[in-house]
């Protein structure tokens, strides 16, 4: 535990927690992230990162505000975009077609700036289920979905999805019959991917907001399918 002295980490974390709203309803199957606590003394890498940042700030290469602003974007902005975009595709067939045709252009239409990400949307059908991975690092459409979950970055996910996707899906509680094609996408170069899941029965007449609620991050990466909860 950090002690009572003025502690950079504690002060920053305090300010951050008070700004954190966490009002997004994570679905059950999304395994909402366990709050990342900085317990105990900082690791060598935490110290290294902090030291690099301070040196660069002192040299005028970056400012603390720039880094803080970026943190806020990753926390408060990016993670909520994907659900909205795909919910629109569910309700608007012409938009869906444009999203499939050119993911980045379609997002721009909705005022979603994907920055450097080049998005390819892939659609699930009764015949095809799509699943995303990056075996070489952890490429992910961050400007659309926020930061990837820890499992996406794990060695197990990265190595196994490409050769045993169905076994990995099963670990997420997703089972697909053999007459459905599993189509794995390894994001190994310039493109980034998002899955357009199939819209489940029982969602007729739902608003985009309500639809976005069941389009959880996990469904957009393709490890689970959207569920209607009563």
């Amino acid at each position: 535990m950090t002690d009572s002295r003025i502690d950079y980490y504690a002060a920053k974390k305090h300010a951050h927690d008070h700004g954190d709203h966490g009002d997004h309803d994570h679905s059950h199957d999304d395994h909402a992230p366990v709050a990342g606590e900085d317990e105990g003394p900082p690791s060598e890498f935490a110290i290294m990162s902090r030291a690099m940042q301070e040196i660069l700030e002192a040299k005028g290469v970056i400012t603390a505000e720039q880094v803080t602003r970026r943190m806020e974007q990753f926390e408060e902005d990016f993670p909520y975009r994907g659900s909205r975009v795909v919910a629109r595709a569910w309700t608007d067939p012409e938009f869906r077609k444009r999203l499939l045709d050119d993911g980045k252009a379609a997002c721009t239409e909705m005022g979603v700036d994907l920055e450097a990400d080049r998005l390819i949307a892939v659609e699930n059908t009764p015949e095809v289920h799509n699943m995303i991975v990056c075996t070489l690092c952890s490429c992910y459409p961050r400007a659309l979905l926020g930061m990837p979950p820890t499992w996406y970055k794990s060695r197990s996910y990265r190595s196994r999805v490409v050769f045993e996707p169905r076994a990995v899906l099963k670990e997420f509680g997703t089972e697909l019959p053999d007459n459905v094609t599993v189509r794995v996408h390894d994001s190994n170069a310039d493109m980034r991917y998002v899955v357009i899941p199939m819209r489940p029965q029982g969602t007729e007449g739902w608003s985009e907001d309500r639809l976005a609620d069941i389009l959880t991050r996990d469904t957009l990466v393709g490890v689970t399918v959207p569920r209607v909860r009563t």
Partner: protein, 137 residues
């Protein structure tokens, strides 16, 4: 587990071609198809320092100071790649590039790290654990 046993665990179970599988130029990041255990399907989120480290990386990348491809290359070249966690890799790769590109020297970074570490009274690895214990009230 012996070294040979540990290595055997990394072989792909799928009969892929031996040359690709075991080639000396295959980097530690090139793990598609390698044998691995079950996926921990819980998202453990990010610690504060990791979020800040990510934002630092992203800020530098956005300014064109480091390129994404340079970060990847620096990561892949890390001797300890296979032993490090994701943000430890990111941070180490960033360190490589900051020094490579002349934004800081190793000495500068070490000095600043010593300064940062001192704020938290984190004992350095030279200090005896017995001494630390004795110093506690």
């Amino acid at each position: 587990m012996t070294m040979a046993g540990a290595k055997a665990k990394l072989e792909a179970p799928n009969g892929v071609d031996e040359m690709a599988e075991k080639h000396p130029n295959r980097g530690p990041q090139d793990i598609g198809g390698r044998k691995a255990g079950p996926v921990d399907v819980v998202d453990h989120g990010m610690k504060f320092w990791e979020r800040q480290a990510n934002a630092l990386r992203s800020t530098l990348s956005g300014k064109g100071i480091v390129k994404r491809d340079e970060l990847r290359r620096a990561a892949e070249d890390l001797r300890d790649y296979s032993k490090l966690q994701y943000f430890e890799i990111t941070t180490s790769a960033l360190r490589t590039l900051m020094i490579e590109k002349g934004y800081m020297t190793e000495q500068e970074l070490k000095a600043k790290m010593d300064e940062v570490r001192a704020r938290f009274d984190v004992p350095d690895e030279m200090e005896s654990p017995l001494k630390q214990k004795a110093a506690q009230p």
